[in-house]
Amino acid sequence: MGSYITFPELLIWLPLLAGIICFFTKGDRAARSMALLFSLIILGVSVASLFYTDTKFVNFNAVNYYYPNNLGNTFFVGLDGTGRLLTFLTALAFPIIFIATYKSNYKNAASFFGLMMLTQSGLMGVFCSMDALLFYFFWELALIPVYFLCSKWGGEKRIQATFKFFVYTFAGSLLMLIGIIYVYQHTPDRTFEDGTIAAHSFAISSFYNAALSGTEQNWLFWLFFVAFAIKMPIFPFHTWQPDTYDQSPTSVTMVLSGIMVKMGLFAVIRWLIPLFPLATVKFSHVVMILSIIGIIYASFIAILQDNLKKLVAYSSIAHIGLMCAALFAMNQLSVQGVMIQMFNHGINIIGLWIVIDLLEKQTGVKQISKLGGVASKAPVLTIMLVIIALANIALPLTNAFIGEFLMFSGLYKFNIWYTAVAGIGIILAAIYTLNMIQKVFYGNTNSITESVKDISWNEKLILGFIVCLIFVIGVYPQPLIDITKESVTILLSKK
């Protein structure tokens, strides 16, 4: 046990504390400011954590609380490269979301912000957990506040959408729980400092060394994979996503699409591949084919999609599909690409939601066919959106190009034909994105868009920040690559 507080602890406890404080704060403004303040502090902590990566600082990055018991579980949290990257994304996303939606009014804001901060705590926990039971705990902790957020503050059809979302992801979680218990029973025993002996252990190292035969790995792989595939989501487990994105309050959609979908990818990196290396190799083709079908399928649906929010949802399914395919290609280029892209996708999609939220609030519609001519009314908004949308389709010198380029290069090494088919997604992405830009922003204004006003300071600030980030990473991606360099090497050594 460390005698000082470590980074992962701060990242988990601070949001939890903030959440509790928000619940008991009186007044909407106070709760909102409190949440923003805390999220900025957490961002500060996270930025600091990026600089303490040397092995001599190892005490800052991992901590292991032990409660005498016979189960073999501990409160073991730590930060490695991947964790650092995703906790940073989480820490960065929340203040962005809070500032961008600063003017939104929520009924019962105290509970809203309280639940948001709880979600952040859960997410941080997922990315830091070094103990399987703890991981499961945080995995669920991140889900439950989101369920309440969607069902209380969502759109008209929120009950239906959130029910679907909850049942889907919860079913997945239960499959994973069965898997965790099975693996647990095959872990070696564990002796604690005080002499307690547990028959088995939940520690990540024990899990990695669990004695599992090839056949066991095969079916366990699918128990875990389905849980993660639902979260990402991968075709054909994706149908909860468009409805949920459509019906959730936008700030929650941002959390869902920007960070929560990364939980699935992260879990594959942290748990699935190292736990079942044999099965990973065996099923990589199946997973990749599903992912690539998803890319093409979702992109095609996006082309004729009239609902702006669902368009972004399908576009996201296509992007995540590419990341999943690249991940299972399991070479340095592709996995490094996935790492950097997890971050970039998070930033870019939040940017897209901010713009869509602004439009929906001003016009009251989210149907593409009802909008038009926004560019002449709101030029700054248009410029921001065009840049973010072009980053979303991976134009060079934007952040997503780096990720997609690396992923495709790696995928090509694995299989040429998968790359060629997935590459069609690049063309389809250009089609649906440019269609959307043309129909919403170009042309003449109509009665709905006539009154659109350009963005105000807080939105300008945040969108400007996102655009800067897009270019900085797009021109000089090396620092971001370096964060996860070592993690990639370690992961590939597990193969």
């Binding site: 149908t239 290069s409 250009a430 089609i431 440019l434 090396q478």
Partner: protein, 634 residues
């Protein structure tokens, strides 16, 4: 690093600064300021390019390394520029012609509101920046950054008047067709990475790397790169975006869709010449595609009535010529034609712009005529441009076209014959255009006639400079048969093509044969020219409905309709099918079906918990019986 290389980075950065100034200050800058800033940065880049060109001519070719763009164990990509004869020549063309077009734009776009005026210049600067990256990049990735960047600027500038739906459609089409090509480019790059682990030109073109690539690798990589080139340089099958791109402002057509961006494909292949020369199959594909495009586009140009559309198809056709040159291994010839084409086609577009300006936006040649007497400078410069593109000696187009045709003959006389046929058509449609526009009687409205005027100096001076270049620009490539020690361009570019020249088999033509071929092509083109001149100086509007072959040409061989039927429509139907059937019925049907099954199951199971003791006892007895039976039999 020699001294001059330390300033090389300024060449692309200056236009980028112009972009930022005009983009950020579009609400405050006056038109004079944004026009000045936009043009001045390009002029500064041009001066630097001259300096670099002179240094390169003195033998200083180098790769300048700035920082590691991507650096992971299995792949290192440097942000580096390659300064050699090929790139320095393109630098001159881009910044030189680019500067003239910027100056021209200050007048041409003057009626735009100042906000849009600044936006226009910022996009134009951004384009020059991207184009410079494209030619300066020392590896395929930096080249690709510029490659997609110019596509983006082209999209933005075609759709510059974004309220018009047709224009934004044209921009969208250009971007998407380019992206199809870009996928080919990218796949080639991935192929190189997987085989060689590098994207740098110097490393790939080294003997060690070339030995590692099998013939299949080289053929595959070059074919995929060529797919990229067909998109960017508007070749079959991806050429249909270029005529539509004429929706953009005319100076944009001159700069992007004639002089620079569309030649990116030629530049890329010239850069990769060693790979191409080692892949004979690709060479054939390139030559035949180029020639087919040249013929197809020329036939379409014969019957177009929109002045810009004629020039657009003419550009497609001339680009086809350049690909023919690349395909027969005449790399210098291709680059030479890029250069002369940049001069005379920019001139023709700007001249057309001057005409359109005077006509108050009219682009239909049927409503023009007799402009000669109203616009003497535009008329004279335009005539020089027409003579240059028609390949009349001693204008620039003659030398570059002749070099390509001679190389084609050496490769295969049929290629030469088709090439000459295209040249004849070129002479015909250009002088049809000239005749319909400048000769005969004015056919427009009285109001238009009243407004006819020569354009201001900002328009005519670029025209004059380009006209001079269109006349004398070919003299740096005068063939040996006319002048001993001629063909300075070939000597200058020799280091770039040295490897290929060592491999390629040269069929030298005898002097007498070369004279004969030249004579035939010039004579044939001249006859077409005179014929067109005579016919169209007396042109009268007629309302006859065309039939048969003419109709086919007027409708551009119905290629658009064909693409619509085999690509656009299927994509939309597939999208609708996935959305309405698979997504809603099949997948969601299954998901909701599972939910319903659970509901149904629980409803049935509910009967078990009926609360009646009798029923429970009955179930218990059945259960016990089952257990007994299991016990007995197992």
């Amino acid at each position: 690093m020699s001294n001059f290389l330390q300033i090389v980075w300024l060449i692309p950065i200056l236009p980028l600064i112009g972009f930022i100034i005009n983009g950020a200050g579009r609400n405050i800058l006056s038109k004079a300021v944004s026009g000045f800033v936009g043009s001045a940065v390009i002029f500064a880049s041009f001066l630097l390019s001259i300096y670099v060109f002179i240094e390169v001519k003195n033998g200083h070719s180098e790769v300048v390394h700035y920082f590691n763009f991507i650096n992971i164990e299995s792949l290192k990509i440097a942000f580096a520029f390659k300064i050699d004869p090929l790139s320095s020549l393109f630098l001159l063309i881009i910044t030189g012609v680019g500067f003239l077009i910027h100056v021209y734009s200050t007048s041409y776009m003057h009626e735009e509101p100042s906000k849009d005026f600044a936006k226009y210049f910022s996009f134009l600067n951004l384009f020059v920046f991207s184009m410079l990256l494209l030619v300066m990049g020392a590896n395929y990735v930096i080249m690709f950054i510029g490659w997609e960047g110019v596509g983006l600027c082209s999209y933005l500038l075609i759709g510059y008047w974004f309220k018009n739906n047709d224009y934004t459609n044209a921009g969208k089409k250009a971007f998407i067709m380019n992206r199809i090509g870009d996928l080919g480019f990218l796949l080639a790059v991935f192929w190189l990475i997987s085989k060689l682990g590098t994207v740098s030109f110097d490393e790939i073109f080294s003997q060690v790397s070339l030995d590692k690539l099998s013939l299949a690798d080289k053929t595959g990589i070059t074919l995929l790169l060529f797919v990229g080139a067909t998109g960017k340089s508007a070749q079959i099958p991806l050429y249909t975006w270029l005529p539509d791109a004429m929706a953009g402002p005319t100076p944009v057509s001159a700069l992007i869709h004639a002089a620079t961006m569309v030649t990116a494909g030629i530049y890329m292949i010239a850069r990769s010449n060693i790979l191409y020369i080692m892949a004979p199959l690709t060479q054939h594909v390139v030559a035949i595609t180029g020639l087919a495009t040249a013929v197809l586009a020329a036939t379409i140009a014969l019957k177009q009535n929109d002045i810009k559309k004629v020039l657009a198809y003419s550009t497609v056709s001339q680009l086809g010529y350049m690909f023919l040159a690349l395909g027969v291994g005449a790399y210098t010839g291709a680059v030479f034609h890029v250069m002369t084409h940049a001069f005379f086609k920019a001139l023709l577009f700007l001249g057309a712009g001057s005409v359109i300006h005077a006509m108050g936006g009219e682009q239909d040649m049927r409503n023009m005529g007799g402009l000669k007497k109203y616009m003497s400078i535009t008329h004279l410069t335009f005539l020089l441009g027409c003579l240059a593109i028609a390949g009349m000696p001693p204008f620039s187009g003659f030398f570059s076209k002749d070099e390509i045709l001679a190389a084609a003959y050496a490769n295969n006389p049929i290629l030469w014959a088709v090439g000459v046929f295209t040249a004849v058509m070129t002479a015909f449609y250009m002088f049809r255009l000239y005749g319909m526009t400048f000769l005969g009687k004015f056919r427009g409205t009285q109001e238009q006639e009243h407004h006819l005027h020569e354009s201001p100096a900002a328009i005519t001076i670029p025209l004059i400079i380009l006209a001079i270049l269109a006349v004398i620009g070919g003299w740096i490539g005068i063939p040996e048969i006319f002048m001993h020690g001629g063909h300075r361009l070939e000597a200058f570019l020799e280091p770039v093509f040295r490897q290929s020249n060592a491999i390629a088999t040269k069929h030298a033509l005898s002097h007498s044969k070369e004279y004969m071929l030249m004579g035939i092509s010039v004579a044939a083109a001249f006859i077409a020219l005179v014929f067109a001149w005579n016919k169209f100086s007396k042109y009268q509007k007629s309302e006859t409905v065309s039939t048969g072959f003419t109709k086919l040409l007027e409708n551009k061989w119905y290629v658009e309709e064909f693409y619509n039927a085999i690509i656009t429509k299927p994509i939309n139907s597939l999208s609708a099918f996935f959305n309405n059937i698979i997504e809603k019925k099949v997948i969601d049907g299954l998901v909701n079906g599972t939910g319903k099954a659970v509901n149904y199951g629980s409803r049935q199971l509910r009967w078990l918990q009926s609360g009646q003791v009798g029923a429970y006892i009955l179930l218990m007895v059945i259960g016990i019986l089952i257990l007994f039976i299991i016990q007995l039999f197992l």
